[in-house]
Amino acid sequence: MTHAISRRLLVAAAAGSALALSFASSAFAEVKLTFLVDNAPATVKASEALAAAFHAKNPDITVEVESRPGGGEGDNIVKTRLATGEMTDVFMYNTGSLFHALNPQQNMLDLTDESYQSDIMDTFKSVVSENGKIYGAPFRTTMGGGVLYNKKIYAELGLKVPKTWAEFMQNNAVIKEKTKAAPVIQTFKDTWTSQLFFLGDFYNVLQAAPTFPDDFTANKAKFATTPAAMKGFEHQAEVFKAGFLNEDFGSASYDDGLRMVSTGEGAHYPMLTFAIGNLFENYKDNLDDVGFFALPGDDAANNGLTVWVGEGVYGYAQTEHPDEAKKFMAFVASKDGCDVQTEAIGALGPYMTKSCTLPEDVPSPTKDLVSYFAEGGKNAPALEFLSPVKGPALEQITVEIGSGIRSPIDGAKLYDEDVRKQALQLDLPGWE
């Protein structure tokens, strides 16, 4: 008897809750999107601002920001979630070589026919396209890879922004002699920061060896045997040998580096300009003491900047809400989207949407960055936007070269080996 009653109760309860559920879903026809971004404070802040502004315009769509680690660990999370079908509706990821490794045709929504594409710069479209189809909408700004420097130190010592490597080394010698500041800041606790001397030198490589990217992709050119491409490694070793580094270069972190360059504990910090966002966040009072210049090469007359195209926002091919996801991406790529980001994390550089503008009073390093895109400014894309091949062990190799453990030529040979694995994995012709 008791048996029967309890079973009847159970059925009634189940039916009741099912009713309640269906009622709830019909009453609120609200769609929830999840947006996966990296966990750098500036990224999260910009993403949350975008989500909030988008929700204000579209009250029936809520965007929830989810964060993941950056760097190699983040790549891994993104790849695994795509492979297991657990990806969020929209997600942020790199453009260029890393984008191609995600198998876009299978995993991402096709954005080729979106109405806003005519407002997006071709440079951006080319690095988020595969087989003529566009998969990404621009998020954040174009970055430069060069040197953040402390303008106060430069003013005190009467130094000029160097246009050649020799001038840069001279400035370092003066700083070492006359101040307590470290001439060059390196922060190998966050190993990715060690790559800038090498990656940021690519504008100069391209001037001396214009066919390098294609030859490199086709396995016809090697770093170890291309003198122009070796320069970055050699420069890094020179700086170490001259004793220009901060004492704790091995255990300092990225954030330490930003503190040092903004407060004048150090003079030069080779870095990508997205760091301006973190400076804006953590060292706002010192932000205008920081300037930016391209890594100098040999020729003062041909001084230019290596440029990184900003990240993209992609839609997951198997999302349940493709239309809402596309609507959100359209918002991120619009002028309104740019303005929301500028307000949240400051103006970090030129946007990839043509109608987007920067405010008059941009921070000092951004002003320096923008000058490389203005009339008379020179710039070229980084290697990872011209070739799909990028070796994963580069950051360990540059740490070793930058701390005198390995010679530049050894490092270059090791990197050529490392790159081979990636080319094989991508199944590129000419490699085996």
Partner: protein
């Protein structure tokens, strides 16, 4: 126990349950252990991007063994395993003797030596990374009081691996000590009395009574800590991530980095190699150590 005996017990068990009784455990074993083992053997022979794979035979193994940092990784793995295992044996034995003596507050002291074992490895790693910071870490601050400039413990390639090994020993010696305490306590007091009657001094009693009779404990400690050392990863990753550069890479961190870079087939091949390596060292070692025990 002889092999004859073991066989006998196994047969006795087989008769106890009908075969359906084993089914649940067998299914779990099959899904969670057997299938992944064979799947990993298969994928170690492919170039695998998670989205698709192509069969490439033994190429991954060829690639894995020609990895320039693998040789270093292997050497480092062996150094790390031998150093940590050896230190744990010596320190664990000494601490075991101290903590079986009539020392004050013995229970509390035993708990204290075991405490680091219970703390999260990652937490220990992060804490020591801070303590070992070259310019504002506590360790170098203390050394500086004596007018010595301490080295960059974790970022100088000469010290980095040994610094991590030191932390590993600090964290793991508690377990070795507990095993030794159990081993030493189980030695009958009569042996010591007899040795005393024969006029053996403290050192002789240690050498001729404690050491040989605590042999089972020594075997256990060596095997456990050697396996732990060979596949060590978490502490190294928390403290140096294999750096600076590749100088503290061990086999496990090389494999992890390959996995992180998306070389899934290659890293699976690496795991197969690591499995074989650990087995090749530990199986003969355990055989030799245990046989001597029987003979003794």
């Amino acid at each position: 126990m002889t092999t004859q005996n073991k066989k006998g017990t196994r047969r006795a068990f087989a008769a106890v349950y009908p075969s359906w009784f084993y089914l649940p455990a067998a299914i779990i074993f099959g899904i969670l252990f057997l299938f992944p083992t064979f799947a990993s053997l298969f994928f170690s022979l492919t170039r695998w991007t998670l989205f698709k794979y192509s069969f490439i035979g033994l190429d991954n193994f060829r690639q894995f063994f020609s990895e320039p940092f693998l040789v270093w990784g292997l050497i480092n793995t062996l150094i790390y395993a031998v150093v940590t295992s050896g230190s744990k044996v010596v320190l664990g034995m000494l601490l075991g003797i101290l903590l079986t003596s009539n020392v004050m507050m013995r229970g509390l002291l035993r708990a204290i030596v075991f405490f680091p074992v219970l703390v999260s490895t990652i937490g220990v790693g992060i804490t020591f990374t801070m303590l070992m910071h070259p310019t504002n870490g506590l360790i170098n601050d203390v050394i500086a009081v004596f007018g010595i400039k301490g080295p960059a413990w974790l970022t100088d390639p000469r010290f980095a691996l040994l610094s991590v090994a030191f932390v590993d020993v600090w964290k793991g010696v508690g377990l070795a000590t507990v095993i030794y305490i159990a081993g030493i306590v189980s030695i009958p007091a009569e042996y010591y009395e007899a040795a005393k009657m024969d006029g053996a001094n403290a050192l002789q009693r240690f050498w001729n009574v404690t050491l040989p009779l605590a042999r089972p404990a020594t075997v256990t400690v060596i095997i456990l800590s050697l396996i732990g050392g060979l596949r060590s990863f978490d502490l190294i990753w928390a403290m140096t991530k294999g750096g600076p550069g590749f100088t503290t890479d061990v086999v496990a961190s090389v494999i992890y980095k390959q996995y992180q870079s998306g070389f899934y087939g290659l890293s699976t091949a690496g795991n197969v190699v690591l499995f074989v390596l650990v087995a090749a060292i530990v199986v003969p070692l355990s055989f030799v150590l245990n046989r001597r025990e029987v003979e003794a």
